[in-house]
Symmetry: C2
Subunit: 815 residues, 2 copies
């Protein structure tokens, strides 16, 4: 049971809540001044390229040539920010701020600037007139910063680009982070997305004893880009019911009146915070009250619904048309400022309405009243260490992965479920790292053979648990929810705040969250350009239940598309591993769990599969990333072979070695080299990827001229693009998944996709430099085998014994 983060009593908390709920006039004046300053800086970013403090009358040449940015949501975001800052100052609460309406970027940048953080990180953007001008000019400008909250924004762990993930990021951030409060603004546009609607249920997995709290603020300002939103136009009673149904206590604040809104929002925030503290106190004190019970049900966490006008405090009407409160306030409410004197005058009036001369001193620095609104040091949300999670990251305490090795007396003699060994490793990772590692999986931990983790931890679940349930409850830390979006997003939030994890999922359905993989990859790529962003644990994705072994599921479950997606990322983040067996998987997993700021994709099936390498061999093989399996081939190395059989992926590796065996036994004299690739990125030229093998090494493996029959786990196009630019790349004949699938046997899948051992032998005969006698007969034999297969599988509903039970036995050249 974690202790409460400070030593205030509940009674003292209650006093604090009462004080917070009723700000006095001085407090409101401070809040309001800070908000005015933020709004002023927001508008300045959108419009001004000179005259930042309005020391002279506004003139067309002070206006940027292109007006880009988003005003509409900004004042709401800064309003909330101001109030949360006050809460932090009064209570010492650690908090991060996640802005779902990401296009309120200028408001969050302005917040960091007013708090001093921005200038600490970007010294040229100093708290004076020249710095303010830089602040304005960099916004939505070449070489500058985007109009949404991004990696460059201090205090952010949430890119305001693709909408839908703000709550999953928040929930991930507070898991195992008991002292942290994630204030999470959900825009009513974003609230229409599927991923967002699917993420309210995070509280069903959040344990107040051990995790921090998410305070969602559903900001209904009524409109998105071009029209009204569903939630803004629903009867408020329905909105309340919906959020109550999701499990929240709904606190509503509505209006545009001032200072009334300051008073009402302060009261709402105080109420919410008081309730969070009560829930946590009850849970952490071990007493199971109505709010804080961790055994008998999920607490009813607070949530604020804020209804405020879109473009609040901006120009009410422009050219006779209502702007504030409508979608017209979304971007730039006055668009013709450079050419239209009326618009210019309106803009000046608008800017001066905030009375900048009261907010910034003669040097351009915020006046003391503004500075005083900021919490101290790391309590400033723009400086929160959790929002730069790399600074908090500790290495995992990892067991020696060699201890989980499968015994391999000789290659391809015995079978094992490779992921089961990984599950045992992960079990012990859980045990050694009780608050810095989690596994995320859509209901398939056992199915994926990772169930050993349940020896250490249950599934997390805050809803009702019944007698028959197994390995599930509030104390669990294995995250199972039937939503790839939740799993992926939680892991992102967890790693961005400095902790480690893995997302394990069915290969085909990894495409559900492919867009999140892309966006997180972009975050990591962008972060590498920023010295101040410390590296965070990698996003580890394990794909099991692959295209080749989805026996009873069929075509919709067969799709290795995520490999293609990860290949589009830059070399400084993207990693794809295809370990062929348990020992290589263990080595790869260990490497990934130690790594930082990558997207690591690991693909391996969960079914019993042949084991190839001893642990020592696996370690060496993985260190190289690709290598010749001499024992599998008939190539003596004295000169180029007649054919190279290459493979990447477990099932196709088996087919490749089986093909090599057939060739050895039936086409004596043919020199066959077998190459296995674990680290797919080794194939790329080194100038395009740091793992890319040198030209020399590439030639050592693949020669410069011999044809390569390459059996690949994924779509053949992936290999085509990877080897482009390598010597005579046309000689790579790739077999892989070509969208031929159905409910069928494992071997039949390789036949349908023309990647079976017989197809590989026929490819060899078609492409080898030199063919011993007997090749024509062997080709015909392969065709006959395939014909036999066709009839056998339909008759017997299973594979022919010689392929079903195939192993190398005593055949191999070693052992």
């Amino acid at each position: 049971m974690t202790a409460v983060s400070d030593d205030r009593t509940i009674a003292e908390d209650d006093d604090l809540v009462r004080a917070l709920a009723a700000p006095d006039d001085a407090e409101i004046a401070g809040l309001h001044a800070w908000w005015r300053a933020n709004n002023y800086l927001t508008i300045g970013q959108i419009y001004l390229q000179a005259n930042p403090l309005l020391r002279e009358p506004l003139a067309p040449e002070h206006i940027k040539p292109r007006l880009l940015g988003h005003w509409g949501t900004s004042p709401g975001l800064s309003f909330i920010y101001a109030h949360v800052s006050r809460l932090i100052r009064r209570t010492g609460q650690r908090a991060v701020y996640l802005a779902g309406p990401g296009h309120g970027g200028p408001a969050l940048v302005a917040a960091g600037y007013l708090e001093g953080t921005y200038s600490e990180i970007y010294p040229p953007v100093s708290q004076d007139e020249p710095g303010m001008l830089r602040l304005f000019r960099q916004f939505s400008a070449p070489g500058g910063i985007p109009s949404h909250v991004s990696v460059t924004t201090p205090g952010s762990i949430h890119e305001g680009g693709e909408l839908g993930y703000v709550l999953v990021h928040a929930f991930g951030a507070v898991m195992d982070n008991p002292d942290l409060l994630a204030v999470t603004v959900v825009g009513d546009g974003e609230a229409e997305t599927g991923p967002l609607e699917g993420s309210w249920k995070g509280i069903s997995f959040l344990n107040p004893a051990r995790d921090g709290a998410v305070l969602p603020v559903l900001h209904l300002n009524g409109a998105k880009i071009a029209g009204p939103t569903v939630l803004a136009r629903k009867d408020p009673e329905e909105v309340r019911a919906l959020l109550h149904g999701h499990g929240y206590q709904v606190i509503e604040v509505e209006g545009g009146d001032l200072p009334g809104m300051h008073q009402r929002f302060a009261a709402a925030l105080a109420q919410a915070w008081g309730r969070i503290r009560a829930i946590q106190a009850a849970a952490r004190g071990g007493s199971a009250g109505e709010d804080g019970s961790v055994g008998g049900g999920r607490p009813r966490w607070p949530l604020i619904v804020l209804r405020s006008p879109k473009g609040w405090t901006g120009p009410e009407r422009v050219d006779g048309v209502q702007v504030t409160g409508t979608w017209r306030a979304h971007q730039v409410p006055l668009s013709g400022v450079r050419d239209n004197p009326d618009h210019l005058a309106l803009l000046e009036e608008w800017l001066r309405s905030y009375r900048p001369e009261e907010l910034f001193d003669s040097s351009g620095a915020p006046v003391p009243l503004i500075r005083d609104q900021a919490p101290a040091g790391e309590l400033r949300m723009s400086a929160a260490p959790s929002a730069n999670g790399g600074v908090l990251t500790r290495d995992l305490d990892l067991p020696d992965y060699r201890d989980y090795a499968v015994e391999v007396a000789a290659p391809a003699r015995s079978r094992a479920e490779s992921t089961r060994r990984l599950g045992e490793l992960l079990r012990d990772v859980y045990a050694r790292n009780p608050d810095t590692f989690r596994l995320f999986c859509p209901d398939e931990t056992n199915s994926n053979r990772l169930g050993a983790v349940f020896e250490t931890s249950d599934r997390a679940f805050m809803e009702r648990v019944t007698d028959g349930d197994v390995a599930i409850g509030p104390d669990g830390r294995v995250m199972e929810v039937l939503s790839e979006h939740n799993c992926h997003g939680w892991l992102e939030g967890y790693t961005l705040t400095g902790r480690h994890g893995m997302f394990a999922t069915y290969e085909a359905f990894a495409m559900v969250s492919a867009s999140q993989t892309v966006q997180h990859g972009k975050w990591l790529q962008e972060a590498k350009n920023l010295d101040w962003r410390a590296k965070v644990p990698s996003l580890n994705i394990l794909l099991t239940s692959t295209a080749w072994r989805n026996d009873h599921n069929g075509f919709s479950h067969q799709g290795p598309g995520l490999i293609q997606v990860v290949l589009t990322q830059r070399g400084d983040v993207a990693r794809v591993y295809l370990p062929p067996d348990a020992n290589t998987l263990l080595s790869v997993a260990d490497h990934c769990l130690r790594s930082r700021s990558y997207v690591n994709l690991i693909v391996i099936d969960k079914q019993p599969q042949l084991q190839w390498l001893t642990m020592d061999e696996a370690v060496e093989h993985c260190a190289r990333g690709a290598g010749i399996w001499e024992w599998a081939g008939t190539d003596d190395g004295s000169s180029d072979p007649d054919i190279v059989l290459a493979c990447a992926g477990d099932v196709v590796t088996m087919e490749t070695v089986a093909a090599a065996q057939i060739l050895r036994e039936r086409l004596s004299g043919l020199r066959v080299r077998v190459v296995n690739v674990v680290d797919l990125m080794t194939l790329i030229r080194p100038k395009d990827h740091p793992h890319g093998m040198s030209g020399t090494l590439f030639t050592e493996l693949f020669t410069d001229t011999v044809d390569v029959v390459f059996a690949f786990h994924g779509y053949p196009g992936a290999i085509h693009q990877l080897v482009h630019g390598r010597p005579d790349a046309d000689r790579f004949r790739v077999r892989g998944f070509i969208e031929q699938g159905t409910t069928t046997t494992p071997f039949d899948m390789t036949v349908r996709n023309r990647a079976s051992r017989y197809h590989l032998v026929m490819d060899t005969i078609n492409n080898a430099r030199r063919l011993p006698r007997g090749a024509t007969d062997l080709y015909a034999w392969c065709e006959a085998q395939l014909a036999r297969h066709e009839t056998y599988v339909v008759e017997h509903l299973e594979d022919m014994p010689e392929v079903r039970d195939w192993s190398l036995g005593d055949w191999a050249g070693r052992g």
Copy 2:
């Protein structure tokens, strides 16, 4: 205003509802017999390979060698199906059935079999003992059918593979389908996914006057694969609040008792149907009542929550452990049947509990009581024409797309927003096809310059509309919702039921629904194997706001990943078009709107862009798919050029022609050929794609040996994989989007990704076969231009005038 679909009065409907709500004993006996038969066939499919009618005692050899399938959800699905069939028989209601818990495949297959549809479509699976045996053996077997509802299942428009889309498919199916009822079962596992949670709000866009109805049945059977679900374990009061908040009238049925459940479910279904009829009658009669108002708010549509045991009627306990009602019933409750005599006995007892001898006659055919439960002909849900929408598909009435042409006096002299012309075309498509065409777009129709459609149709919206709103209301048929999942899924449902449409979205965020694109592509691929499935209108996806012109949005908005995704689909469905200007776009769009059963991806930016081709030229260029732009090059065609500059995509086409101009002006004597590609698939070898150009044609365009500098809209790897296998493919030097992005100017984007005109010139100098004098100077000049750009853009916040305002002017070799 559409009329109600039959001429019953509301009073007659009321009588019907009362009768439906109280089935007499004979009706219940019939319902129950059909359900028993269905359950028997379901279990037979999972277990039996012989002895289908249990004519002899069950023996191990009657059991399949591999037991695959899903029992848990099946009895619930067939229970609902039986009751809806009764509703149809009594009312003549047209209905389709969508099974969200897709792994209840055997129940839906059994339903089609009992209704006779299955045998009509697959004659060998006849309604007799041999047919029943085939039914059993084909299930989850090689060459057979999958264990989930799939394309092969009669009556299905929803693949039960990837979860989350059942409601979006249902809503799409009933749009402009006033007589159709989509009974839509949502499993509590699926209900945890983001896309499903985001799809309840379909009723906010459904107009009862013009659209049909969706009746969701939320089936809470308590568990998914390995544990409980959130909704099943929430307080029922919360579930009610949640669904009420989504806007539904919640009708609950709970239990496992029989015949009580038959009576209660019949009453619930009657109540729901009565309410739907009342809503529709009110809306269609033009009277705005509480339930049917189309002006004053959304009707409160009914929804049934069904709580029944998982694995209902199956073995209660196995090996001393509770199975029914738990996750253990999810797949195969008795797994050791072949080896474990106790399990075998239990299975026999279970099968015989349905008294098959009463259900099937001596030939093995369903007895008359069972047959009588099926509605007649096309009213059988397994035979619903809407579930084989190709049979209902009519060609669109399309205007002549040439009428929307942009005047092009000469290439690259004038600019236009190309998508604006498409918007005008779509406006008239709307007008000519008032109930068979819709545009789906996440809130960006205007932003994407397609706003002309609003001259014909508003946005659809059933929530409150206020005075300031523009082009939005219940009569609207343009579908805007800030959810790619909804847009994509609605369009799928709309096209699978035989109507036409287009999904227009931001390029980067098309990845949000990439998995739907993949799954729908798989549906179309699979459907092509089935003669009885008529071709449906294509899934047309228009990507605008592309990576190259997301000026103020930045890196998170820059990603051409969907091209990679579509390239993984088979050639018989995948199409990718990159029209460079308005006239080519119009030609491509016309082609796509006429096509069937493809995934058509069209990529073009929305910003003002240079126009290249007259309409006549565009038509010819699009017909070829790729061609030489002789006027842009300096290649006289007499022999191979020194370099080929190829391009695909609007922005890179501009850079390519600009590069050709620089080369012409500054490197006299160099023979440059310019090739533009509109239809990306022409690059593939014809054996891999029907659009693939012949080797001869490929050589005519690209030669066999000359280096090709290829400027591509998307990731370079796409071209690498497409040209693999073409003569000397290594000579293709591809420039494209290499994940270099930020908020910056349009030209700076091409510089950062090394695809600017200057980079293309430098690439030419590096790779041309033959270089005239002056190449070194030109290379240095390009470097100097790039250096100038660097300083200019930071200083002026915009591009250098010579690139910003670049056009060919009078330069071009023609016009």
